[in-house]
Structures are given as C-alpha cells and as structure tokens.
C-alpha cells in the first residue's frame, strides 16, 4: 500500500512539472527571449529601453482590457480601433493650440483637459453600449454587430475630419498642457547616481486602469455575472443574471476603454488622421488570447492580459535589437498567437 502511494506521488509530480511547463510556456518563452536579447545587446536592460517597452505596453493595454470582456462573453469587438480613432480626432480637435495653423475650430478656446477626457470616454461608452444593445436585444453575434458599427464609425471619422475649418489634414499642434498631461512625467523612477528616469504619466494611468479593471472583474457582482454569462448564458439567466444589462455594460465598458485610449493616443502620437487607431483591435485580441482570455468563453484574467500585451510589445522592441528583419515580426506574432491558443485549448480538452 505504501509503495503504491509513493508511485502515485512521484507520477503526480512529474505530471505536475509537465503541466507547469505547458501552462507557463509563454512566460518561459518571454524569459528566454529577454535573457537572449540581454546577452547579445546589454543595452536592452538600460532604463530608456525598458521604459520604452513599458510605455508601449501601457499604450496598448487599455484597448486589450476593454476587448477582453467581449471575448469572455464568447464575442469580440472589431470596432475598437475605429472608436479609438474617432475619440482621438475629437480629443485632438478640441485641444488644438489656439495658434495652430489650419485649426479645426478656430474660435474654440481649449476646454479643460479633464472635460475632454470625460467626453472621449463617454463617446466610447456610448458606441460600446450601442454594440451591446444589438448583441443583447437581437442576439446577433458581436462579430457582425461590431463589423457594422466599425464601418459606421469610420464614416463619422471621415465626416468629422472635414468639419469646421479643417482641410482634411492631420490634426496636430495640440496644446502644451494636453501633451504634458499625457506624455509628461510627474513621477519617475530613481536609476542611481541621483538621477531619475522619467516615466510618462500614461504608464501610471494604465496601471491604475488595470487595477480598476481587476477590481471590476474580480470583486463586483457585475464581474461574476459576466463570467457566468460567458460560461453558460442559459444557466446564468435562470440563476438570475440580467443578461441584457450585463451584455450592454460589458460592451459599454469596453467602449469607455477605447475612448480613454483615443484620448491618450491623440496626444501620444500628436498627429491624428482618419486612420488613427486602425486595426488596434487585432493587436488587442491577439494580446488577450495570448494572455489566456479564451474564446471558449467564461475564462480570463487581468494579469494574463497584461502579460499578453507585454509579450507582444517585447517582440516588437526586442527583435529589431538583435538585428532580426523587421518584416519577420508579423510572422512571429502569428506564430505566437497559434502557439498560445493551442496551449490554451489544451487546458479545456477533456482528454489529456
């Protein structure tokens, strides 16, 4: 009997090691990549390079945080990029410097930054709620609904780009305050020698946002309802989940995230065209699935999403550093997505 116990235990632990390796394969790949890049190009670990990586991650995180909720509901959101686009151009047009050449609204005194942020988030939330309404009310697949809204929103962007005194040129020359608010650095990190490296404000904001989303996902009834809905809609309904409201809120929340992202991107990129934000949803979806937000529905974590975004950005930053052809990055991204999803599915297969 006792020998049998031992046999079982040892088998268990070897299985465990295998499971551990497979469950954490992506993090391990990331570590290997970091170690390799550091070994060949030590400057990778320099503060400026790390902060660059961090900044890029922070810039792409909000859209991923939003879209993840839609994926948890076994849906998706193809309108994310365009919503970023429309809120970016609106933010930019409102906060153009009074002296800007070709200013869209020449007589508009730039309103308070916080107000513009609020407007941006509200517009995003509204478009999101619109998506959610069609999904919840008519039981349409989010793929279809957001494919359609994405087109509609694009027309609004094109029309808006010609509004006011605009000549259809990129909207630039934003107010100094606005740029400072987003890309300035209130808090830096000490890097020794009495120096501090500046960390852009939007990195801290992204961190805050991730924390907020974590709270919403894990500590609120809405979060639990969202996961229940994603796992089994019928069962969730019988259990008293308000399917209609939950769906709309998930999409509205996602829209709010895109609105926030539009506000940030506008100042980060500083020159906004009708194509600002285009295809952001694809990177965001990729980051989510890499981070274990499963299309099976009902599964996902905020930490996973952060890791997913970070891993994708790492590829963009690190590969060129070790001299890899820029063009290869797309193939590598594709490969990682396939690998991540295959590993992820493995967890849900019954047979092991």
């Amino acid at each position: 009997m006792s020998t049998e116990k031992v046999k079982k235990n040892s088998k268990w632990s070897s299985e465990q090691i295998k499971d551990f390796l497979i469950n954490n394969a992506l993090i391990l790949i990331m570590l290997v990549l970091v170690i390799y890049v550091t070994a060949t190009r030590p400057e990778f670990l320099k503060p400026t390079s790390l902060i660059n990586l961090l900044s890029l991650t922070a810039a792409y995180l909000p859209v991923a945080l939003g879209i993840a909720g839609c994926i948890v509901l076994t849906g998706t959101d193809l309108s994310a990029g365009r919503v970023v686009g429309i809120t970016a151009v609106i933010s930019a047009s409102l906060l153009q410097d009074i002296t800007a050449p070709g200013k869209m609204w020449p007589n508009l005194e730039p309103p308070p930054i916080a107000l513009v942020l609020l407007i941006s988030v509200l517009i995003g939330a509204l478009i999101g709620a619109f998506n959610g309404f069609w999904v919840a009310k008519f039981k349409l697949h989010p793929f279809i609904v957001t494919l359609a809204t994405q087109l509609i929103v694009y027309t609004f962007i094109l029309l808006y780009m010609q509004a006011g005194e605009s000549t259809g040129q990129a909207i630039s020359s934003l107010t100094e305050d606005y740029r400072e608010f987003v890309t300035g650095s209130v808090v830096g990190v000490p890097i020794g020698g009495g120096k501090t490296a500046p960390i852009p404000n939007y990195v801290w904001l992204a961190l805050l946002l991730a924390g907020l989303m974590w709270l919403i996902w894990n500590k609120t009834t809405f979060g639990k309802n969202m996961f229940a809905l994603g796992a089994n809609e019928e069962a969730a309904r019988v259990s008293g989940v308000n399917v209609f409201a939950t769906t709309i809120i998930v999409f509205a929340l996602a829209g709010a995230m895109y609105g926030y992202a539009g506000f940030i991107e506008s100042a980060r990129i500083a020159s906004n065209t009708a194509n600002t934000g285009a295809n952001y949803e694809l990177d965001a979806i990729a980051a989510c699935v890499i981070g274990g937000v499963s299309f099976v529905g009902g599964i996902g974590s905020i930490s996973g999403i952060v890791i997913g975004v970070l891993l994708l950005r790492l590829i963009f930053v690190a590969l060129p550093m070790i001299g890899m052809d820029q063009n290869l990055q797309f193939a590598i991204k594709g490969g990682i997505i396939l690998l991540a999803c295959a590993l992820d599915m493995r967890k849900y297969l019954e047979k092991k």
């Binding site: 796992a231 309904r237 259990s239």
Partner: protein, 499 residues
C-alpha cells in the same frame, strides 16, 4: 484470457488532479449478456467507460476484446472496432437534422459527395428496425430530450457493435420509452451483443440485467449474477453501509396558510392551459404526468423563464409578477432546472462561482465589492451540508460527477433563501445514497415552512415524499391525489385524461 469473455478490463487506473477516479478496476462482460454497472455518483462508472471508449487515456491496466488486447485512442477507433457508447451527457449537433447526427463521422459517399438518398433510406431502415418513429429530417434541437436520447441509442445500435455501453440512458425517458428500449436491448442480447448498462434505477437493473458489477470510490467491489443479489445488498455494497429505507421519515407539517397560489396560468408559446393550484407552507407538492404533459412548462412559467399568456401568482397573499428569473429570485422563488448541463451548470467555472452566482448580493462589502471570505464560507457550507464530493472549491464543476453537480446547483438555490422551491427532476441521475440525502433535504426545507414543488417522472419518489400529488395531462391540471391512498395506476389514469 478466456475466449468466451467478450470484454475484459483489468487493473484499470485513472488519476485526475485531486482524485484517483479509478483504482485497479476490473470488469468482465460475456457475449449475449446485459451487464449492469452500479455505484454512487462519482464512483467512476463513466470514467471507466470513457477509458474503454478512448475518450480518456487510462494510466494503467489492460483491455481485451475477444481475447485481443486493445487500446483505443479515440471514439472513431472504438466505433470501428465494435464498441459503441451512449454518453451520459448527450453530445449532439443540435442545429443539424436527426439524419445528419446519425451518420456523423461516417457519411455514406457517392464519389466525392455525401449520398443523401442512401442516408435517408438507411436511416428509415434503422428506425423501422427499432420501431422508432422520429422524423429523420427534424432538426435535433426541436426534439424533446427523450427522443434525442432515442436517436443516440439508435446510432449506437446502427454501428453493429459487439459491445454497447449505455450510460444512464433512461434518465430522461418516459415509462413507455423505457419499455421500448428494453425490448431493443433484449433483442440485441439475443444477437450476442454485450451490453454495459449504467443506471441508478434499481428496478430497471433488476428487470434487465444478467450480471451486476458494483463500484465504490473508484474501486471494484463485487460482481454478481443479478438473480443472486437483493436490492438491499446492492445498495449496501454501493454505499458501503446499511440503508434500510428508500425514503426518510416525513417530519414536515403542512400548515394552513397558503404559501403560493397559482391562478389560471397559461403559457404563450407553450402547452400550458389554465393551471391553478395552491401550495401550503411546509408542504411538498408533487407534480406527476407523462412526457410532454407540461410539468416543466408549469414550473418555468411560474418562474418567469417562459412567457405567460395570462394568469396570476400570489405569494403569501400578495400578487407577484415574476417577470423573469431575476425578478422571481428576488420574490423568493428558486428553480432547479431539468437539464443540468444546458441550463444548470457554468461548466468552465469553479464550484465557488457556481455556488454563489444567484446570491451575490449577500457577499457584498459596503454594497460594492464582493468579499472572498464570505463567498468561500457560503461555498463550504454548501459543500458540507450537501455532502458534495469534490477535491476543492476551485475544481471546475464539469469535472464533477453528475450527482455532485446537482448538489452544487441545489446549494446555489438554498443560498438564495427561497420561500418556494420549484424542483424539476431533482434526483435525475443521482445515486440511491445521494437521493436519500436529497429527500431528507427536501423534507427539512418543508419543515422550515418553505413550500416545495417537486416534478418527477419517478412515481415511487412522488408517493414516497410528497404530501399531495398534482397530476398533469396535456398541458392541463388533471387532478389532485393523496399519496397515502393513491397508487401508480390511479396516477397514470389521470395523466391520460386529456390525451
């Protein structure tokens, strides 16, 4: 290896994280016999069969068919080698036709194309052969569960298999359909097929099986000829202790006050007409009827899960709307649904999430954030008081055996502290020991002054625990009976009143 053994499984072990689901189990089935496999929920019956069928990969052990060692890697291999299985949980392509489902994975071809004509012809032949009257072109999801079950059985038979496994095939069949199934099984037995039959229904096992193998906690306990073993003995071996009564003592007292009063409820899209009845506090009201009599519809209309055409519901004298499930829960109603997998469990989520989902408001701090500790306490309470066998509260619910899933869902509803419990087939697929526990629970709930409505197809169960039995027939209430004085024939007669 003895040649006359059709199937021989020896030393089968299977480990899942947290449980040794099978521990050196053996099973021997002779050709031309029906072999019952029995055991409590979670004993490992389904797992053993899935190891045979190639759904799971066994950790160790050997399987011989007609003396030859086999190890199927997947269902297709098993089917091609003469092993068919009707799974406990139906896996069907619901949006496709009956015909498509029957031929899935082996569509007859004519050149590069699927031969629809041949498919239709052979489907008819199969159904005729088995005396099944189901429209082969009907979309699967439009059929009642019992007919879907029959399609699955027909499919298994149509593979001309040597070994057919039926994992709780009768859990959603009506009495007539069970009789029908048994005729098919006896016929197959004549033809030398070995049938493995898993069921929790003692009477069925006595009637149909030749031999019985009993499992407990993933281990082989006994194999006996059916005529040599009594039901009490089977139960003792399954449960591991003496269980003298099938039903606990009724300690609940029916009060005079009416808890719920239903007046002339009709369904908008469902076959339910002018149903009226009262439910007293402390009462257990049974609802009997044939398949399609509108029992599920009655419960789901009361609960607001289906749209009503008319009628009123009163709870303790106050009219309630019960517009939708959320509203009903707030009003103090709970509904345990009939189809656990489709409308009960959140398969991919853990036990904790599945337990607390209907009562989330109770675990809020400052009306804002959920308190993990409170949720955990509630979950542990449910696990303890319902005796849920699970490695931990973090286990995905779909990894539990059917009976244990059911207990978790019951726990979910108890946590909403309902006044009226609507239980649709509460003991479907549940073993004798756990059934007894659930009966005890129902009686206890009634003793606390709650009103309980129990829909069940098992008449002994209704007669055993109810204070009153409502009989439905073709969408109408056909009458009421007193369990103390009535019998199964009287119930059946009423059930046919409006046919």
């Amino acid at each position: 290896m003895t040649k006359n053994h059709l199937l021989e499984m020896v030393g089968i072990s299977k480990y899942f994280p947290g449980v040794q689901a099978l521990d050196e189990v053996k099973l021997t089935v002779k050709a031309g016999t029906i072999h019952a496999l029995m055991g409590e929920n979670g004993a490992g019956k389904s797992t053993l069969m899935k190891c045979l069928f190639g759904t799971y990969k066994k950790d160790s052990g050997e399987i011989f068919i007609e003396g030859e060692s086999v190890d199927f890697g997947n269902a297709k291999e098993a089917l091609e080698n003469g092993v068919a299985m009707v799974q406990q949980e139906l896996n069907q392509a619901l949006t496709r036709t009956v015909k498509d489902n029957l031929w899935l994975g082996r569509y007859p071809l004519k050149g590069p194309f699927v031969d629809e004509r041949k498919m239709a012809k052979e489907t008819d032949e199969i159904f005729n052969n088995l005396n099944i009257s189901i429209d082969a072109n009907a979309i699967m999801s439009t059929l009642p569960v019992s007919q879907r079950q029959m399609v699955e059985i027909a499919k298994a038979v149509s593979y001309n298999s040597k070994i057919i496994v039926l994992d709780e095939p009768t859990s959603s069949l009506s009495e007539n359909e069970v009789e029908h199934l048994f005729r098919i099984l006896r016929d197959l037995r004549e033809r030398g097929v070995g049938i493995i039959y898993i069921s929790h229904k003692m009477d069925e096992i006595r009637e149909i099986s030749d031999e019985i193998t009993i499992m407990r906690d993933g281990q082989w306990i006994a194999t006996e000829a059916t005529q040599d073993i009594s039901i009490d003995e089977i139960i003792r071996l399954m449960v591991g202790r003496e269980l003298t009564h099938r039903f606990p003592d009724k300690t609940n007292v029916v009060k005079d006050d009416v808890m719920m009063s239903v007046k002339n409820i009709s369904g908008r899209y469902t076959n339910l007409h002018d149903a009226s009845f009262d439910l007293h506090a402390g009462e257990i009201l049974g609802v009997a009827g044939l398949d399609g009599a509108g029992r599920t519809e009655l419960l789901e209309n009361i609960f607001g899960e289906m749209t009503r055409k008319g009628g009123q519901i009163f709870l303790e004298g106050q009219e309630v709307q019960n517009k939708n499930p959320k509203d009903s829960i707030k009003n103090g109603f709970a509904l345990l649904t009939e189809e656990r997998r489709a409308t009960g469990i959140l398969g991919i989520r853990d036990i904790l999430d599945n337990t607390v989902i209907s009562s989330l408001k109770r675990y809020l701090n400052f009306n804002l954030f959920l308190d993990d500790k409170k949720m955990l306490e509630a979950t542990e309470w449910a696990i303890d008081s319902l005796d849920v066998r699970t490695p931990s509260h973090k286990t995905q619910i779909r990894a539990l055996s059917g009976g244990n899933q059911q207990k978790v869902i019951i726990g979910r509803w108890l946590l909403t502290q309902p006044k009226v419990l609507l239980l649709d087939e509460p003991t479907r697929g549940i073993d004798v020991g756990a059934k007894y526990q659930i009966y005890e629970l129902i009686i206890e709930l009634a003793s606390e002054g709650k009103g309980v409505v129990v829909v069940s197809s098992e008449m002994p169960e209704l007669l055993g625990i109810c204070d009153r039995i409502l009989v439905m027939s073709n969408g109408r209430v056909a009458g009421e009976l007193d369990p103390k004085t009535t019998n199964q024939e009287e119930i059946l007669k009423l059930a046919e009143k409006y046919l």
